[in-house]
């Protein structure tokens, strides 16, 4: 496809404009996060930072909660992801490759949970967790999301496409069913595991309303909660607040830089598998 020179230039102009608009808030974040407390008090707006300092980060970490919250988020996100990868693929395997009474009905029932908006579950979920004694623990953030219907659905779709003959081969060699899952299904499902893992981790890492309702003790706060509280903990200290934003955004952006291809593929495919 040939393009005229002017079209090509237009393309780059538009790309630059779009990228600049999308990047503007990040630019602000970085410029502000490197500004000293004293320079905040200087009247007028500076669009750049003359004497960058890491003081806002020192102040932020002195508050003490960021480090703890990051650990909490990693713990919750990690366990949720590992659990999802196991339970969802296992169930997906059963739904895709096993035949048993009630299979399709159960699958449909499972799928129907995806239609229930989270907002409906806020109040009763809270009461249930209270009765279970799960409030102010990480359990409600981990256990239910380890076996979400979406993960099972995605797994079933993917595993269905694995040729039956491969499974037969393994069975002929006398492999037990769980071994088939472990040695045939899992190795062949790497793209699925990547997709599911990335989506689950991002979902957990960025979850806000769940921790907001469930966690009471600030020591257990996850990163989004601590970020949301920065306005109150460092009132008027825009630089420290932005340092917090940098802390919460940078790790995932770096992950994105490394796994760009997989993440884009995961998200692009997340809803597009033929049902």
């Amino acid at each position: 496809m040939k393009q005229r020179r002017s079209e090509r230039i237009g393309l780059y102009v538009l790309l630059t404009l779009g990228a600049a608009t999308l990047a503007l808030p990040f630019y602000y974040m970085v410029v502000m996060a490197l500004r000293s407390n004293e320079s905040l008090a200087v009247p007028g707006i500076q669009l750049t930072t003359q004497h960058p300092t890491l003081q806002p980060f020192v102040d932020l970490f002195d508050g003490g909660l960021i480090l703890q919250a990051t650990m909490n988020s990693i713990l919750v996100g990690g366990l949720t992801t590992l659990g999802t990868l196991f339970f969802c693929t296992l169930a997906g395997y059963a739904f895709a490759k096993h035949r048993f009474p009630g299979r399709d009905t159960l699958f449909l029932i499972l799928l129907s949970t995806m239609m229930v908006p989270g907002a409906v579950l806020l109040v009763p979920g809270f009461l249930l967790l209270r009765d279970l004694g799960w409030l102010d623990t990480f359990l409600p953030l981990i256990v239910p999301s380890m076996a979400g219907a979406f993960g099972v659905f995605l797994s079933r779709q993917f595993i269905s496409a694995i040729p039956e003959s491969l499974l037969e081969c393994a069975r002929m060699e006398g492999a037990h069913d769980f071994r088939v899952y472990r040695s045939v299904i899992l190795p062949l499902s790497k793209p699925l595991l990547a997709t599911l893992g990335i989506l689950t981790f991002l979902g957990s890492w960025n979850n806000f309303i769940g921790p907001l309702i469930v966690l009471l003790d600030e020591k257990k706060y996850t990163l989004p909660l601590v970020i949301a509280m920065l306005q109150g903990r460092f009132p008027g200290k825009e630089n420290v607040q932005m340092a917090g934003a940098v802390i919460s955004i940078t790790p995932v952006v770096i992950l994105f830089l490394i796994f760009q291809k997989q993440i884009i593929a995961s998200l692009a495919s997340s809803g597009l598998k033929e049902a």
């Binding site: 496809m1 779009g18 999308l22 990047a23 808030p25 990040f26 407390n37 905040l40 008090a41 009247p43 707006i45 909660l65 395997y93 059963a94 096993h98 048993f100 009474p101 499972l110 229930v116 908006p117 907002a119 409906v120 579950l121 806020l122 009763p124 009461l127 209270r130 409030l135 990480f138 256990v143 380890m146 076996a147 979400g148 219907a149 890492w205 960025n206 806000f208 907001l212 309702i213 009471l216 003790d217 989004p224 949301a228 306005q231 109150g232 903990r233 460092f234 009132p235 008027g236 200290k237 919460s248 995932v252 992950l255 994105f256 830089l257 993440i263 593929a265 998200l267 597009l272 033929e274």
Partner: protein, 816 residues
């Protein structure tokens, strides 16, 4: 891997277990340094008594729902520091220890250390639920040098204050109004000098709303005048406000700060160059009124469910001692904190007893402020709290927000009429020009206020009487028999039992029916997801359905839930609350989705043209994808500062796109639009990723053929692109609608809810879309029944919309 898991699990268990045997103290402080301070005091307390104190800070924005959540969960801390309304609000649902009843002698001794006029707010009948500390009052901080230069004396009355402001504005100076700007609870500071408060309880215990009283409205008008009818740069400027206070330049400087006793430390820290050039005076009195000072502040409470009530009360007593209050004062003073000047509630600080303390050399710079506070302290007082006032005050808060928007619009109209800018107009008003405009602004504002109060009153009275009814039932039947209610089984426990029985039956069937036993392994594989679905989706969904037909306060046991039939649904629809929330949600969807999709399609087409350095472009375009809505909203909350001191406003002005700053987040016209801009910005990445994947599946030959045919771009778009990405379109719109209807965190953050006590979901609740409404009712006003009813209405609507969309996109498309 296994070892890592084990390590994680043990460290988690250790982390949760290590806190078991200590006194848990939650402190609403906001600042990180304050919690360090409390920790130090806790260490001293441990040395003295052997009782260990574990301090957890709470943010001003959500401390109330945290306390309620903890009480509802039956796991509150032992003691807490909360707002002034806390003792009443938590005490009347059985959450707190009545200090007078439980520790009569000691409570009496503690009370004797306080100014008795302070206590009514924390008592219900003979019960006392809280002990005040850290008082907040209004003062004026002013630049002595600039005032002298302009020939103004610091004002002692409201007329003088208004004249002072006029003089400042005539000389192109501004003034700053910090944390009580627009705060409904601060209205008492303006109306009590006229002897009227908004809600009163008379001697017989009957509540009365004084909104239509002329004297009440007179006070409110003075508040509106100071808050909104000048060129004040708004609140929460933080350090920047200090910079402007220190500036001498007309057009920039703000030589007067109202209500900033708390900023004195920051001024000493950040603007030492003006040391000695500024002073403090007390909040002026109204001409016709009496001197009256209403306190803001903090109270200490002890929780009923605490297993260490006695120790917790010891801790509260310790905190309220002269010794510890001195420590608190000096700690904040030395680090020039915000507030750097604590006002302890105990009398001994302010009478002869405290003289020694104030003799300290280091306290010399604040003698003036100390004298002002000591004078004000004598007339500090509170009024009793009124049941049901929370929702009524919310009505008034929202009305004040809408007055702000109305005043802003009116002033903008006047400025346009005179062909000038807002700040120029204010300056002209200050010089006495356009007197007719100014008079009409004041007259119209008074008329508008009167009209608003009159129209809100019936609704408010109804809310009050409903609350009274609820409270009557609670005090007469529930609170007296809490133990019995706690033991009684509830619908939820019945449902839980039913679930256990069902699980046993299923396991039994699989185990004993040979036909099913054959497949036991399959059932085992799917058991966990099915169980999770049953326990965490179906069970709560059923509970919500049940709750939607009841009235239930979560701090009380579920067995106290009262069946009310369809009245939650009926009230929600009749009062229009769900209607207006859904309308806002719909506006949000219609405003974000089409624009978001169009822009994202544009981005996807640009990237699909395979520019050089494709990966870099993709990275730039797609990085918002992974960022959390909360962090992004935090950034935008600063970009959107709604005065000319804001970043985005500065850029817009520099590009000559605007002449007046846009009041982004503080006007009800623009708040939700800002949330939508954020949503579009944040959503473009995901949508373009999906579109790009679709575009790449369209055979290049199709484009080439079209190119050869000379088909113009829009024809290519219509004939090739749109049909080619039909499945993606379905996916993006369906998900977009569902997601947009459930928007929550960005609104939560942009409304400053984590930092501001009493913040609504945007000015005049303009961001109260559906999920914020459900959250507010469930976790802020604690009406679990209403919240559940609205959640079910939302559920029905989302289901319908999804069905319509699938039908709309289905006929020609694939089987997606």
């Amino acid at each position: 891997m296994r070892r890592v898991l084990l390590l994680l699990a043990t460290s988690y268990l250790l982390a949760t277990a290590s806190l078991a045997q200590t006194l848990r103290f939650w402190a609403v402080t906001g600042s990180a340094d304050d919690s360090t301070m409390y920790k130090e005091i806790g260490a001293d307390f441990e040395k003295k008594t052997g009782i260990k104190v574990d301090v957890s800070p709470l943010a001003w924005g959500n401390f109330e729902s945290k306390y309620f959540t903890a009480m509802a969960a039956g796991m509150p801390p032992d003691a807490g520091a909360t707002n002034l309304g806390g003792p009443f609000n938590y005490g009347t649902v059985g959450g707190l220890v009545d200090l007078r009843g439980t520790f009569p002698a000691e409570s009496k001794e503690l009370e004797s250390k306080l100014n008795p006029a302070m206590l009514p707010m924390f008592s219900v009948g003979k019960k006392l639920y809280g002990i005040p500390t850290d008082v907040g009052i209004l003062v004026l901080v002013y630049r002595k040098d600039i005032f002298e230069r302009l020939g103004i004396k610091p004002p002692a009355t409201w007329n003088e204050l208004n004249a002072t402001i006029a003089k400042l504005e005539a000389n192109h100076y501004r003034y700053y109004y910090n944390w009580t700007l627009g705060a409904q609870w601060a209205l008492n500071m303006y109306t009590m000098p006229y002897g009227v408060s908004g809600i009163e309880v008379d001697a017989s215990g009957k509540t009365k709303l004084n909104w239509n009283e002329p004297n009440y409205q007179k006070g409110v008008l003075q508040a509106l005048n100071l808050w909104y009818m000048h060129d004040s740069p708004g609140k929460d400027l933080g350090s920047r406000a200090i910079g402007l206070f220190a500036s001498d330049k007309p057009g920039e400087g703000m030589p007067l700060i109202i209500d900033l006793f708390s900023m004195d430390g920051q001024i000493r820290k950040l603007a030492p160059q003006i040391d000695g050039k500024w002073g403090v005076v007390a909040w002026p009195t109204a001409e016709t009124g009496k001197p009256f000072h209403v306190m803001g502040g903090i109270t200490y409470v002890v929780f009923r469910k605490s297993k260490h009530q006695r120790e917790a009360f010891e801790w509260v007593k310790y905190l309220s001692s002269q010794e510890v209050q001195e420590k608190i004062f000096l700690n904040r003073y030395r680090r020039k904190a915000d507030p750097g000047f604590t006002i302890p509630a105990i009398t001994s600080f302010w009478n002869a007893e405290g003289a020694n303390f104030w003799k300290r050399e280091e306290l010399k710079p604040v003698q003036e402020l100390k004298n002002v506070v000591a004078e004000v302290y004598k007339s500090l007082g509170t009024t009793p709290q009124v049941q049901g006032s929370t929702e009524v005050t919310k009505l008034e808060s929202n009305m004040l927000d809408s007055m702000k928007t109305w005043i802003d619009d009116t002033i903008a109209g006047l400025a346009t009429k005179q062909g000038t800018t807002r700040s120029e107009l204010m300056s002209a008003f200050g010089r006495g020009e356009f007197a007719a405009d100014r008079a009409s602004l004041y007259a119209e504002t008074a008329a508008k206020l009167k009209e608003n109060y009159a129209s809100l009153l019936p609704k408010a009275e109804q809310l009050l009487s409903e609350a009274e009814g609820r409270q009557a039932r609670r005090t007469s039947t529930v609170l007296g028999h809490l133990d019995e209610f706690e033991k009684a089984s509830s619908v939820l426990t019945l449902l839980e039992r039913a679930l256990v029985v069902a699980a046993i039956l299923v396991v039994g069937a699989v185990a004993f029916k040979p036909k099913l036993r054959k497949h036991a392994l399959s059932y085992l594989y799917i058991a966990f997801p099915v169980l999770v679905a049953a326990v965490f989706v179906f069970l709560p969904a059923l509970t919500a359905l049940y709750l939607s037909f009841t009235e239930y306060h979560p701090v009380l046991p579920l067995s106290t839930a009262q069946w009310t039939g369809i009245s939650n649904y009926r009230e929600s629809i009749q009062s229009g609350e769900i209607g207006s929330s859904l309308a806002k949600s719909l506006y949000y969807v219609l405003g974000t989705l089409p624009i978001g999709i169009a822009l994202a399609l544009g981005c996807a087409l640009l990237l699909n043209a395979r520019p050089r350095g494709e990966h870099v472009w993709r990275f730039l375009f797609f990085s918002p994808l992974v960022t959390s809505a909360i962090s992004v909203a935090l950034i935008f909350s600063q970009l959107f500062l709604g005065t000319k001191d804001g970043w985005l406003n500065t850029i817009l002005a520099k590009l000559h796109l605007t002449t007046e700053p846009i009041a982004f987040l503080t006007s009800e016209h623009t708040f939700l639009k800002c949330v939508m801009i954020l949503a579009i910005w944040h959503g473009i990445a995901f949508t373009s990723v999906v579109f790009l994947a679709g575009l790449q599946q369209i055979p290049a030959s199709l484009f080439e053929a079209a190119h050869l045919d000379g088909a113009p771009p829009w024809v290519r778009l219509k004939k090739i692109v749109l049909p080619g990405i039909r499945p993606q379109m379905l996916f993006v719109t369906t998900l977009g609608v569902i997601g947009s209807f459930q928007v929550f965190e960005t609104i939560f953050l942009l409304a400053n809810k984590s930092a501001d006590a009493g913040a609504r979901f945007g000015p005049n609740d303009s961001g109260l879309t559906t999920v914020p409404l459900i959250f507010h009712q469930g976790f802020e006003s604690l009406e679990m029944g209403k919240s559940s009813a609205n959640a079910y209405i939302l559920f029905a609507i989302i289901l319908t919309l999804t069905a319509i969309q699938i039908k709309f996109f289905q006929p020609e498309g694939s089987q997606a």
